[in-house]
């Protein structure tokens, strides 16, 4: 047993570290590290830099720009990119639709979409959740009917993250209403400019605009926009669950947050001293660090376990990463609020609608403290709520 990495692995890590910290503009990275929202242009800019250097879509098949990395190398990629405050490839593109098209799409779809998806020339959004289909995603009702050479889509999607920027949407639609609910779903690609699509913003409790409702009213898309076979969409959506699990714990991002928290608490005055001098605060901070260290080790164990196993096969232990990783992200936001103290209170809605920018009152970081806390409540809800993760472990590991 050896917790050290090889010299080659460390050299690989150091090169990534250097790249992320020198090639991606500091202004973008600082925004991420401070928990502020990015503009569309900033997200596009950094993804194009990554893509230019072959680092936007390492998880894809090699012929489409992926890297045949070892689990340790994949771990270093997500850890270093997160620690550097680089947003990384837009998840809808790089972790969601891209791998599905690469695995199940037609040659034409691959050629048409994959290079543009990697370069963020196409911005994708996800059409999965519906008002009546959250954790019970397979209960979705948006339907697509084949009429002539076209799918005609009717229904409503919700929680469509950054749909306001999107060029295309990948939609799960019911195509066989008679089949068992998981077996009548298809995976269809849809240009957002198509007639009949309406996007309505949803303002979340942090004051920001990340998510949207998307309405489909007799939306007609070409027959060939279906990915893979009709009625197999559920399998393709599940395939994603086995993809890119090492990033889900956000260990690198939480490390960066904790580093920033320690810096802020070391300068922010409190009474005669600084916030960090309060033993209650420093013990809370230590507790979150301990939880994160345990999670980092759990992640390493899962990575070590992946070696020599079939790629893309989900390990149910990954549910631990989601559950603990999301809790830790939430705890870090609580710590920032504690540092901000009374200055959690001023509210300012910026033109981006993020509520994250400087208010001019109190310390600069404080404006983002409460919005981040409110915003991060989402992480234990999305991507399979933590209760769903418990169901997965209960069934797949404990055998209940």
């Amino acid at each position: 047993m050896d917790l050290n990495f090889t010299a080659e692995e460390l050299a690989f890590r150091d090169e990534l570290r250097r790249f992320f910290r020198t090639e991606i503009p500091e202004s973008i990275r600082n925004k991420v590290l401070d928990g502020q929202h990015l503009s569309k242009d900033e997200i596009v800019l950094q993804q194009r830099i990554l893509n230019k250097h072959g680092l936007a879509v390492p998880g894809w098949p090699v012929e489409w720009g992926g890297k045949d990395w070892t689990p340790v190398q994949r771990y270093f990629y997500s850890d270093e990119i997160q620690q550097a405050g680089v947003p990384g490839g837009l998840a809808f593109n790089t972790s969601m639709v891209g791998p599905v098209i690469a695995q199940f799409g037609s040659e034409e779809q691959k050629k048409k979409f994959l290079p543009a998806t990697a370069n963020l020339d196409i911005w994708w959004c996800q059409g999965f959740s519906e008002p009546g289909a959250g954790s019970d995603l397979a209960g979705l009702r948006t339907k697509a009917e084949l009429v002539g050479d076209e799918w005609v889509i009717n229904g409503q999607k919700t929680w469509t993250t950054l749909g306001q920027h999107a060029d295309w949407i990948f939609v799960l639609c019911r195509t066989d209403p008679a089949a068992k609910k998981q077996e009548g779903i298809s995976y269809i690609l849809c240009d957002m400019k198509t007639k009949g699509i309406t996007v309505r913003p949803i303002q979340t409790i942090d004051g920001g605009h990340e998510v949207n409702e998307v309405f489909f009213d007799d939306v007609r898309v070409p027959k060939d926009n279906i990915v893979g076979q009709p009625n197999k969409g559920w399998d393709y959506a599940k395939f994603l669950l086995g993809n890119e699990r090492t990033g889900i714990a956000q260990v690198g991002a939480s490390k960066a947050r904790l580093k920033r928290i320690r810096e802020l608490a070391s300068v922010e005055p409190a009474g005669e001293g600084r916030v960090i001098d309060d033993p209650k605060f420093s013990e809370k901070l230590a507790m979150v660090e301990i939880e994160l260290k345990a999670l980092e080790m759990t992640q390493m164990r899962i990575i070590a376990d992946e070696r020599g196993k079939a790629k893309g096969k989900p390990n149910p232990a990954s549910s631990i990463l989601k559950m603990k990783g999301s809790q830790i992200q939430q705890w870090t936001t609580e710590l920032v609020m504690e540092i901000a103290g009374p200055y959690v209170m001023p509210f300012a809605l910026s033109d981006e609608g993020s509520g994250r920018n400087e208010t001019g009152y109190g310390p600069e970081f404080a404006a983002a403290a409460a919005p981040a806390y409110f915003n991060k409540r989402k992480v234990s809800i999305y991507g399979g709520s933590n209760e769903i993760q418990r169901n997965i472990i209960a069934k797949a590991i404990l055998g209940f």
Partner: protein
């Protein structure tokens, strides 16, 4: 990075797991507890034969040259079996201190006998007022013409009642909590002036209150005023071993609970079908796995040459294990229901041992304060 065991380590694990499966059923354990020492001398001899007692000792002194990983393997298996024998006191603490602080002659005199199972050792360190502060030592050692003479009282000396040899921290110089001025003395348990009162502990093991009234030490390990750093090092190693034992305990509590949930029927169904209980069992599982992860970290770091990094990592491990152990233990009892409240049923015994480990060598709060004062873990 590699979590695999070496071939030798795997063989060790197989043999100790098999031994526990054969020799440590819940019923067998009750018999050992009823023996005069409160544990089995016969099994102790078998451990020696199997090489378990010297697994972490140098080959030159009757051992197998193992280290923290070997100790972890044995401890986890012993946790599963709720082993009563004085392995932790004699091998991990006693053997560890002699290895760290003893000179070659002292090692040669004691380690082979310990490995052979013929010498039992206990570490007399805790005092009533010292609680978890290793530097707080009021027992005194005074240099006389005959040698070092000890006076004072030591508390809750693990397996101190059966030990042949006591390793005693005593103050030779300085104020009560000074880091300098602490020595580590070898005292024969039957020396004049040593009084021991042995008793059973909550977890079924044994301990003793020991007083020293002008007791003459047989020897001193290392610098009679400079033992503290080595004591801290060995205590950190020992905490990592306790944490590995706790992982064994927690894993077993979880397995027993999940099995029980599947067979226990109420309201016409097995209680494992209730989602509220499933989720609680999952939270136990997560706590066990996070503890296993942290135990690996603590085990490896317990041998780190950087004392500050070592101590911070070990304390962090103890915090994780303390918190998780409390959750897993309490939930194991709750999910079982009334049966877990009985002495007849095994799960409560794991809970009791877990609860004792939580406060040994510093409880969760004490270690959390240490981590908080020691800077970032990353």
């Amino acid at each position: 990075m590699d979590f695999d065991l070496s071939d030798d380590q795997r063989m060790l694990k197989d043999s100790v797991d098999r031994l526990i499966a054969d020799k440590y059923s819940f019923e067998q354990r009750k018999k050992y507890m009823a023996e005069p020492d409160g544990w089995s001398r016969e099994l102790w001899a078998q451990y020696a034969e199997l090489g378990l007692l010297g697994v972490s000792f140098p080959e030159a002194h009757g051992g197998f040259g193992g280290g923290p990983v070997e100790n972890m393997i044995v401890a986890e298996a012993f946790g599963k079996g709720l082993v009563l024998e004085p392995y932790f006191a004699t091998i991990v603490l006693g053997g560890g201190l002699i290895q760290a602080a003893g000179n070659d002659a002292q090692k040669a005199a004691m380690l082979p006998e310990i490995a052979a199972g013929t010498r039992l050792v206990a570490f007399a360190q805790v005092e009533r007022a010292s609680r978890y502060n290793l530097a707080d030592v009021q027992v005194t050692a005074t240099k006389t013409a005959e040698g070092w003479v000890l006076n004072g009282e030591k508390s809750v000396v693990l397996h101190g009642d059966c030990a042949d040899t006591l390793l005693v921290t005593a103050r030779t110089d300085g104020g009560r909590t000074d880091r300098n001025g602490i020595g580590l003395f070898v005292v024969a348990a039957n020396a004049a002036g040593v009084t021991r009162q042995g008793y059973r502990t909550q977890d079924g093991c044994r301990a003793a209150e020991i007083s020293f009234a002008n007791a003459l030490a047989a020897d001193v390990l290392g610098d009679p005023a400079g033992a503290l750093p080595l004591v801290e090092q060995v205590v950190d190693q020992a905490i990592a071993v306790l944490c590995a034992e706790a992982v064994g305990l927690m894993g077993e509590m979880h397995t027993i609970t999940v099995d029980y949930m599947k067979q226990r029927k109420q309201f016409g169904v097995s209680i494992s079908q209730f989602q509220v209980l499933q989720h609680r069992a999952v939270d136990m599982f997560v706590a066990v796995e996070q503890s296993r992860s942290m135990s690996l970290f603590g085990t490896v770091m317990s041998a780190d040459p950087d004392a500050k990094a070592r101590s911070r990592a070990v304390s962090a491990t103890k915090v994780q294990i303390g918190k998780a152990g409390k959750l897993v233990g309490e939930e194991a009892v709750q999910l079982h229901g009334g049966i877990a409240m009985t002495m007849e049923y095994k799960v409560g015994h794991y809970f009791k041992r877990m609860t004792m480990i939580e406060q040994m060598f510093g409880n969760t709060d004490a270690h959390l304060a240490k981590v908080a004062g020691a800077g970032s873990l990353f």
